[in-house]
């Protein structure tokens, strides 16, 4: 449900760039939604597709990278891979974990048409 609100923010960022850089249509939009970002990529894609008609995003391909989740395990004093919050450390089985990677939620780049 919050992906709809996030899609609105994405559109805002793209429209601001369109004004600054003088393009009218987007051919491809690349986003990053890390595994630990709290965002479901499919829901975000769906929300963007629903929002696109009539905007500069109409017809754009949406690519969403999902950087892997990483966390610092305080017990192991090491960075470990976790797929979601609440997962135990794969090394020691503990939960003293602080997410350090896969927490990004960003618009990376665009391919735009000038016409």
């Amino acid at each position: 449900m919050h992906e709809a609100s996030l899609a609105g923010s994405v559109l805002q960022l793209v429209e601001d760039a369109a004004r600054r850089d003088g393009f009218r249509r987007v051919a491809m939009l690349r986003l990053e939604a890390g595994q630990l970002s709290g965002v479901e990529p499919r829901a975000l894609r769906f929300a963007l597709e629903a929002l696109a008609p009539g905007t500069c995003l109409q017809g754009a391909t949406v690519e969403i990278d999902e950087p892997a989740g990483q966390a610092w395990c305080m017990a192991c004093a090491a960075t470990v891979a976790i797929a979601q919050r609440g997962d135990a450390c794969p090394r020691c089985g503990g939960w003293q974990l602080e997410p350090t990677g896969g927490i990004e939620l960003r618009v990376i780049d665009l391919l735009v048409h000038d016409d």
């Binding site: 960022l13 491809m28 939960w95 960003r106 990376i108 780049d109 391919l111």
Partner: protein, 268 residues
């Protein structure tokens, strides 16, 4: 012009692959070019949240973002908290920002206690965001300079929309998120909604007066909360019976901002 650093494409006779604007020719398609943005999707919200935070600090306001699922007892707990503060800290100004999809029922309940409240109706929206809080705070601040409150510090409770999923992502500029979970909800909730409990500083386990009537495993719940958030504090209480309210008020006391350095807002 490059949207990253603002550099211009000054030399028309050269192919410029400088920061941002690289021209790509894709056969069969019209000319497309690449633009690097690398912008946080929540960037604008977080910018306003930071501004809210500075604003609160400047006014000695300690803002708390109360999050929970619908029906956990947030509003009743708030009313009980206000009543307790009115007895124990009569000089302390309290205000509330209420978030709900529809109705102003909650804001009216708060106002009935004598505390100013602004209702934010999000409509289809499922969470409060920083711009909403900025506007609501402006309203509160403009209308409620009460000379009866001589403590230069004040408490602002932001009761978020009842939702254990979405509010976790939106910084409002608060000092801390307080998650409220009631014993009628199930002790595994922290594991089911890890983002929210990970984002909270304090877990208030509410409706403890009902423990004799439900199968709720308190130690398991606390363990679950500590799994997703090793540092989370926990207070068990009942807004109805008053159990645990002293600990909650103590926590609020410790959380409140130190007196602002510039006393130009003090109503002495």
């Amino acid at each position: 012009m490059c949207v990253v650093c603002g550099c211009g494409d000054a030399d028309a006779g050269t192919l410029d692959f400088g920061a941002g604007a690289a021209r790509v020719s894709v056969p069969g398609l019209s000319q497309v070019r690449s633009i690097k943005l690398e912008a946080d999707i929540l960037g604008e919200n977080n910018r306003i949240a930071r501004r809210n935070r500075q604003h609160f600090a400047a006014h000695g306001v300690t803002a708390l973002n109360l999050v929970s699922s619908p029906g956990s007892g947030k509003t009743t707990l708030l009313c009980a908290t206000i009543a307790a503060l009115q007895v124990r800290r009569p000089g302390l100004a309290v205000s509330v920002i209420e978030g709900d999809q529809q109705t102003s029922v909650d804001a009216e309940r708060i106002r009935a206690t004598g505390v100013p409240a602004v209702q934010v109706n999000t409509g289809k929206g499922c969470h409060l965001d920083a711009p909403m809080v900025e506007q609501a705070f402006e309203r509160l601040h403009a209308h409620h300079h009460d000379p009866a409150h001589h403590d230069a510090r004040s408490l602002l409770f932001i009761e978020n929309v009842g939702n254990l999923v979405c509010p976790a992502l939106w910084d409002l500029g608060e000092d801390a998120k307080v998650a409220i979970l009631s014993v009628t909800e199930g002790e595994d909730k922290p594991l089911k909604y890890p983002d929210m409990f990970a984002a909270a500083t304090l877990l208030l386990l509410n409706k403890t007066d009902l423990l004799p009537y439900v199968d709720f495993d308190v130690p398991r719940c606390i363990e679950a909360a500590r799994r997703v958030n090793p540092g989370i504090e926990v207070i068990q209480l009942s807004a109805r019976s008053g159990d645990g309210m002293a600990a909650w008020l103590q926590w609020l006391d410790e959380r409140m901002a130190p007196l602002p350095a510039q006393a130009h807002h003090a109503h002495a």
